[in-house]
Structures are given as C-alpha cells and as structure tokens.
C-alpha cells in the first residue's frame, strides 16, 4: 500500500483545459477545471450534455478523445503526471489502477466473447493472475454484485443477459484488478427505473466493500445524491459549484444548481374530466401479436379524452410502444377495436384515409433519427402542410414561420439542416412537424428520455402550453414517472402487455397501489441522500 495513503489526494486535476479540433480551428471545451479526489471518496460530476463531464471523466485516465487534446493544466494520479505521459505509462495505469464504466454496456462489450473471458482479459493479459484464478474471482464478484447464477452467468454472451445485468457485469469487469479509482460515465442513464435501482445498489456495494474512489458522472442529481460524498456541478466546461452532497441539496448557492434541483417539483393542476363527453380515442379490448405469434398486448382498454394528457407508464417490454403502433395502424390488432371521435378506425394504416392520418400524429423518442438529415427544417415542416392542408407559396411559408414561432425558434432555423440543431431543438422541430398537420391527438413516445433534464423540462412546458393553446390531446408514453407526475391528467400503468392500473393522476399516485405501481413509484430516485439505503432496507425487510 502507498505510504502517503489518506493524506495526499488520489487524483488531482488542476487548471485543466481541453481543446477539440474543428474545421474552424481549435475550440476549447473545458476551460480550466480543478478537481481533487481523495482515496475512497466518491465525487459526483453533474451537468447537461456538452458540460464537459465525460471529457473530465476520461481525463482521469489520462485519455483525450480523438481530435481533442489537453492544452493546459495537469492531471496527477497518485503523484504521477498524466498530461504528456508516454502511452506505456498510461497503459500500466488503465484497467489496473483506474477503470472506466461506460454508459452503454451493450455497446461496450464485445459481442463475440462471453462475459467471463472479457473479465479475465486484463488480469490474465497483464500476467497478474492465471485464467483459472481470474475466473474464480469473477464468479465471486458476480455474487457480490447480486447477479443471478453467479457461477454460470459468466459463460453467457452479452446478448444473452439483460441490460441491467450487463451493466453490472461491466462494473465487475472494471473491478477485476481492484483499481483505486473507477470512473462511472452515466452507468444507469439507459436503464428503466427498476433496473436502475439494481445497478445503483451494485455500485454502492462494490464501492463500500473495496473502498474504491470513484468519479460518478450523471445528469441526474437524484441519482448522484445516493452515491456521492461530494458533488461538482459543471456547465459549459466550467465548474459552477462544488460541495458536500447534503449541503448542496439543502442550500445550493448558484441559480443553475437550484434550477437542477427544482426540476422535480414542477407539476401542473390536472384538468378535470368532463363527465358524459365521448372520449376522443377509445381502445376497446385490444390484443395484438407480432408476426411470430408472440402476443404483446392482452385485452387492453384505454380512453383518451379531448384536451387531456394520458400517460402510459411501464418498463421496456411492457407493451406501451406496441400500443402506440396499434393506434397508428402499424400493428393491426388481432382482437378488439379502436374508436376515434366515436367512429371505428380501420385497423391498418393503409386502409385509413388521409383525413384519419392527419388527425393522429406522432413524436418520437430520438429526434436524431426522426428527422431526415438531408432535408432542411423548412422542407420538413413544409411537407405536412402541403400534404394534408394543400397549402402553397406565401401562405405555406407564413405557416412555417408561425410553427417555428410556436416552438420558440427563430425563422432563420428554417434554413438549417438537422445536424446543425441541438437535441432539444431537433425535438422541437419534431413537435412542429406533428403540429403542422393540425392533429387532434399526438402520441408522444418517450419524447424526453433522450434529452437532458433542463431541455426535457423545456419540451414538457412547450407541450403543455401548446395543449392549452391548440386543445390537442396527448397520449404520453414514458418510463419516467417524474414526467408523468408533472404533466399527466390520467395514468395508465402497463406490465407485460396488460393494463394493471389506470385512473386519474391523483388516484393512481395515491395509495393503495397495485404492487407493480408501488415498485415503479418506489424506484424513482429521490433527492434525499438516504433514499437508496432506506429503500433497500425496506425491500429486504419485506422479503426477509
């Protein structure tokens, strides 16, 4: 063990600047950040995308992404300078003393090798352990991380385990050489709330057991609150605020931190249901199956009233996206019927008239793939106007400008390609494209889950404002209960293709809950730093 352990910091970043090379010359993305991490300490790095938090995380490994470089400052790991250090010295460090856990485990594992071989790769390759020894340790590590079947799971391939299990296997892999520092780069962002709890638990266990120091990168303050001793808020490559977790949550100093904290409080009053009115959309006893005969929806009945927001909640695989496909006609139901505005809707999209199609529009989860990269914003918005409303020339251009105004973008944005927009702006364009058709119902499929929290908040506010102005109905598909609490009038909880609970927001969110609703609700991270511990205590008490 190091003699000066406990006194000298493990990682010390001072005045670090990082530059990226662009076509217009170098551009600085990190503007002089200082960071100190002691042994066994966990520091949460939080900020929106583009804040430079991942760049900083990678810097802890002495690594600058392709096309970027450290232009000034120093990174000292246990006294060793990493800026400008030879690759050989860095290689001796990475994987052994500093490890990295990436956001998407599915993209980070090599699909051609099983988990345990990838675990053993570094310890065996560096000659630290024999293969047998490494495999035995891997199984022990899998057990520590509460993976099912710890003896056998290592012999599976990445596609044979679930997303949460894969993420835990990756954490095990990072621990293979018992590093002194682990960088977690958004390890739970791509996961459902219930899975997120499992992964958070695993991280907490491992960090406590081995006393490893960690940099925990995330954009979710509630998640980092469970993990970190200290939190550092980053924005545009600068440190906004840094402090001890509890202090930061109770008395944030900067306005930006308060914004991040305040996000979860916003909720709007629910619109009361108008009694006796025929709902806009009624799905009656619908079942549906995919080609192979695999049944994905079982006897689902829902209703969406006029000018109301109905949220469909569930984990991935719960059938909520399939329900959207049934309503849009992409997946014809095997049983049941769909009524729109009182009249039955043809089951297949092809049988529907242009007037039907116009009235139901869709907004997608990932705005990157929902916009044709080779069309300018003008062209994208023009098509529904031309196609449904037969507008031309001046009138059409005026309408486009008005749509841009509605989504709070300058008319100048019309000339841009999607590549030239940020994620939030792209999603706004998707909203404008849906609005251009002047629909009665908009299906929002996880529209905020690919966005940063503040941006997502902006989108939700925009949607609510548009609903008030245009009186459209929203069918809001999401796994994020925070969003649901903020905007839904009614909530439908789905599990395994069935509706397990539905009703007005207050009714569903208030006890007594259906057990599955209870599980979902309790899994939503809270700002309280003790939330995870209490949750785990409560759950183990319930089972044990």
């Amino acid at each position: 063990m190091n003699t000066n352990a406990g006194t000298a910091p493990l990682l010390e970043i001072a005045g670090l600047r990082v530059e990226v090379t662009t076509d217009d010359g170098p551009r600085e993305v990190v503007h002089g950040v200082d960071l100190t991490l002691r042994r066994g300490e966990i520091l949460g790095l939080i900020g929106e995308s583009g804040a430079g938090k991942s760049t900083l995380g990678l810097a802890a490994l002495g690594f600058a992404r392709d096309g970027s470089r450290f232009s000034a400052g120093s990174i000292r790991f246990d006294g060793q300078e990493l800026v400008g250090a030879p690759e050989r010295q860095l290689r001796a460090l990475r994987g052994l003393r500093v490890a990295y856990v990436a956001q998407s485990a599915a993209a980070s594992f090599n699909p051609a090798h099983n988990l345990i071989d990838q675990y053993a790769e570094i310890p065996v390759g560096r000659g630290l352990k024999s293969r047998r020894q490494a495999q035995a340790e891997a199984q022990e590590m899998y057990r520590t991380l509460l993976l099912p079947d710890p003896g056998g799971i290592g012999y599976r391939y990445p596609h044979q385990v679930s997303g949460g299990q894969l993420q835990r296997a990756m954490i095990a892999m990072a621990m293979a050489c018992q590093p002194e520092l682990i960088v977690f780069d958004e390890p739970t962002t791509a996961l459902d709330v219930t899975t997120q709890v499992e992964v958070l638990t695993a991280i907490k266990l491992i960090v406590e057991k081995f006393g490893t120091a960690a940099l925990y990168i995330t954009h979710d303050l509630a998640v980092v609150a469970q993990m970190a001793d200290r939190i550092m808020v980053l924005r545009h490559g600068r440190v906004v605020e840094e402090g001890e977790t509890r202090r930061m949550l109770s008395t944030p100093r900067e306005a930006y931190t308060r914004d991040l904290l305040g996000l979860r409080a916003a909720a709007r009053p629910a619109v009361p249901a108008e009694a006796g009115e025929e709902p806009l959309l009624r799905v009656d006893n619908v079942s549906a199956a995919y080609g192979g005969g695999f049944k994905i929806l079982h006897d689902v009945s829902i209703a969406v009233g006029r000018r109301r927001t109905v949220a469909v909640v569930g984990e991935s695989g719960s059938g909520k996206s399939s329900l959207a496909r049934v309503i849009t006609g992409l997946l014809p139901p095997s049983e049941g019927r769909i009524l729109f505005d009182g009249a039955p809707l043809p089951p297949r999209m092809r049988q529907r008239s242009r007037a039907h199609l116009k009235r139901i529009q869709m907004i997608y989860q990932s705005p990157d793939t929902a916009l044709n990269p080779r069309q300018r914003v003008n062209e994208i918005l023009m098509r529904p106007l031309e196609f449904y409303l037969r507008l031309n020339g001046r009138e059409r251009q005026e309408r486009i400008d008005r749509l841009l105004e509605m989504i709070e973008l300058d008319p100048g944005y019309g000339q841009r390609f999607p590549d030239e927009l940020s994620g939030g702006e792209k999603q706004r364009v998707c909203i404008a494209r849906a609005l251009a058709a002047e629909p009665d119902l908009i299906i929002c499929d996880e529209v905020t889950s690919a966005l940063d929290q503040l941006v997502a908040q902006g989108i939700l506010k925009l949607l609510q404002r548009l609903q008030d102005e245009l009186s459209v109905s929203f069918l809001f598909i999401t796994h994020d209960l925070v969003t649901v609490k903020a905007i839904a009038d009614e909530i439908i909880v789905m599990q395994n293709g069935r509706v397990v609970e539905q009703g007005a927001r207050e009714t569903v969110l208030a006890p007594p809950h259906h057990p599955y609703t209870e599980l979902l609700l309790s899994s939503v991270p809270q700002m309280d730093p003790d939330w995870l511990d209490r949750l785990l205590a409560a759950r183990s008490g319930a089972t044990g």
Binding site: G67, T328, G329, L330, M349, R352, R354, L357, Q361, M362, Y364, S366, T369, A370, L371, N372, P373, R374, Q375, R383, P384, F387, Y388, R433, A437
Partner: protein
C-alpha cells in the same frame, strides 16, 4: 457534409476574372475559326459550343465564391484545350463531334473542380493522382480520332514492327499501329463499360430500392431471383448467353448489365434497409406518403455516398470483365480495338521478351487503380471521416 461551397472568401476581383475570360475567349474563338475554315456547319457548331462554354465559365469566375487558384485552373485548362485545337485544327475540323465531346468533358470537369475547390484542395495526393488519371483517360477516349496518328483498323505497316519513329509503339500482328489502337481501345472499352455499368446500376438500384421499401413477398421473390442469378458464376453465365445470342455490342452490354444489376441490387437493398429502419421514414409512412416519395425524398438522398462509390467500383469490374471476355474472344469483336483482345492478339510477342502486349493490360490496371484511388477518397469525405 464536406462537399458544399461556403463562399466566405472574397472573389478574385472583377479585373482578374475579366482578363481571364477574355484570354480564354480569344483562344476559343481561334478554335472556332479553325473549324469554320474547313466547313460551315462544323464551324458553327463548334463556335456555338465554345461560346456557351465561355459564358458558363465567365459566370463561374465572376461568382464571389471563385478562388484565384480555381480560376487559374479553369483558365489553364481552357487555354490548353484551345491551343491544342489550334495546333491540330485540321483534325478538329475533320472530327468536330469528337472535339465537342472533349470540350463538354473538359467543361464539366473544370466547373465541378472549381465548385468543389475547397474540398479538392484538401484531397490527399493519391486522390489527386486518381482524379487526374481518370480525367486523362476520359479526354483520350473523347478525343481518340484526333489523337491517334493512324485509323483504328487500317493496316499501315508490316507485322510486329518494333518501336520506332513511324510507329511509336510498333505494329500488331496484322501490321496496325499499336498506339492508335490503344487510343481507340480506350474509347471503345470505356464507353461500353460506362453504358453497361449505367444500365446495370439503374436496374439494380431501382429493384433494390423497391424491394427494400415494399418488403414482404415482393422483396423475397426478387431476392430469390437475384440469388439464382448470382449462383451461376459470372463469367460462365456471360459466356453462355453470348454463345447463344451471338456477340454483338448490344448483347454484350445487356448481359453485363444483368449480371451487374444483381450485385448492385444486393448493396442497394442492404443500405436502404438501414435508412428505412429510421424513424423519419416511419413518420413519412404514417403521414400516408406513397412509395415513390419515400424512395426519392427519404431514402435516396441518404444513400448517395455509398451509391457513387459503388458506381466507381462497379465500373472497374465491368471493364475488367469486358476485357476478359474480349481476351476469350467473346467480347468486342475485331477489327474494333479493345484492351482485352489486344492482349490476346499480340500475346505471341511475350515469348520474345517484348513488352508491347502488356501495354493494354497496363492501361487497364492504371485506370482501375486510378478510379479506386478517387473513389476511396470520395467515400472518406462523404462519410465524414477525418484523417
């Protein structure tokens, strides 16, 4: 997308551009006068084309985005062409069509080069060489009758004469000038390959796009048909069909197009599938858009880069294929000159250590390499990869 003009730099200045255009104008006027001296119709046609070329050049040069180096390049090319026309004015007058095609190729090349100057300037030397060589081949093909010292099929000397003053590269097995035949072969092989590739490409791409977009049993049926065609070795399939229907240039082109279309079909179907899986296509389908709109507006613009690259590579394969068919005696028929058959006709010389028969083979190899160099670079820039 790296390839588009930004127009940030100032222009080259009105005076500079005007001088340049005037100089080019003088040379082209002389060119037209030379043509006019030998025949009125030819002279008028050449004069009109030269004038059009000049107008378009002037427009390109006077645009504020024109850079000085691009202007110099345009000018130099025009002056060289005009000067060549003046020096060989009797030949230009004898083959006005050839001269016009040459002018057209030159025109398209310099204007494209000027428009893409910023991208072009950053191109690595290998790409520059590839582009220059490909351009040179195109010009030789266009200007073949003007450049060749002797006619294509005339017997002008005795058999297998060595390299010398009269016959720069000697004569072939029948006493025809080797250099002339090489030049004409460039034209024959390249134009047939270009037509065959274009046909095969159009058919394959259309079928691939339709199959991918419609999907279902139509996709399956088309896929199976293509599988069957692809199961028969390419060369044997071509030999079989050509033996049955006889070897004419039309049948050659059609057979190659069919064989080629199967490969293009597979590629286009695969890349279209990737685009079709994206949500903007689903959005278009949900809007109620028809098949053609989806293909033309949503899919095609997103697969242009791989398509162009595929075209370049297919083109290489096709002229190699034509050459091998000709070598086997089923390709382009004598006395039409063609690289493949020229290798075969003069193969006997190899025994005596003479490298002449290898020249046409070399011509094939150089063009294939040049096209691939250019295409590699294009793929690199259009895919957004950086060195």
């Amino acid at each position: 997308m790296a390839i588009h003009m930004t127009g940030r730099n100032g222009g080259i200045g009105g005076a500079g551009a005007l001088t340049a255009v005037l100089a080019a104008g003088l040379v082209l006027a002389a060119f037209a006068a030379a043509a006019l001296a030998s025949g009125k119709t030819a002279g008028l046609a050449v004069g009109a084309a030269a004038a059009l070329h000049l107008v378009l050049l002037a427009r390109a040069l006077l645009r504020p985005s024109a850079t000085p180096s691009a202007a110099t390049a345009i000018l130099l090319a025009t002056v060289v062409y005009g000067a060549g026309a003046l020096a060989l004015h009797s030949r230009f007058a004898a083959f006005p069509g050839s001269g016009l095609v040459g002018l057209a190729i030159l025109h398209v090349t310099v204007l494209t080069a000027a428009r893409q100057w910023r991208t072009l300037r950053k191109a690595p030397p290998s790409a520059m060489i590839g582009l220059a060589v490909t351009f040179a081949y195109a010009m030789i093909a266009a200007l073949a009758p003007l450049l060749a010292p002797y006619p294509e099929a005339a017997i002008v000397g005795s058999e297998y004469e060595p390299w010398g003053a009269d016959f720069v590269l000697g004569t072939d097995n029948l006493g025809r000038d080797m250099l002339s035949r090489l030049i004409f072969a460039t034209r024959n092989t390249i134009s047939i390959a270009a037509v065959a590739t274009a046909l095969g490409f159009a058919a394959g791409a259309a079928a691939g796009l339709l199959a991918a977009t419609i999907g279902g049993w139509i996709d399956t049926a088309m896929g199976r048909v293509v599988d069957i065609l692809m199961a028969i070795p390419q060369l044997i399939f071509a030999l079989l069909i050509l033996t049955i229907v006889g070897t004419s240039i039309t049948s050659l082109v059609l057979v190659i197009a069919v064989v080629d279309a199967t490969r293009v079909f597979r590629l286009v179907r695969a890349v279209s599938m990737n685009v079709l899986a994206l949500e903007f296509v689903e959005a278009a389908r949900l809007r109620g858009e028809g098949l053609l709109w989806i293909i033309r507006r949503e899919v095609l613009p997103n697969i242009t880069a791989p398509l162009i690259v595929e075209f370049g590579i297919r083109f290489c394969f096709v002229f190699l294929f034509i050459s091998s068919l000709s070598f086997l005696g089923l390709g382009i028929q004598p006395p039409t000159a063609d690289w493949g058959s020229m290798v075969r006709e003069n193969a006997a010389l190899i025994v005596y250590g003479d490298i002449t028969p290898l020249l046409p083979a070399g011509a094939i190899a150089v063009l294939a390499v040049a096209i691939n160099l250019a295409v590699d670079w294009f793929l690199h820039t259009s895919s957004g990869l950086k060195e």
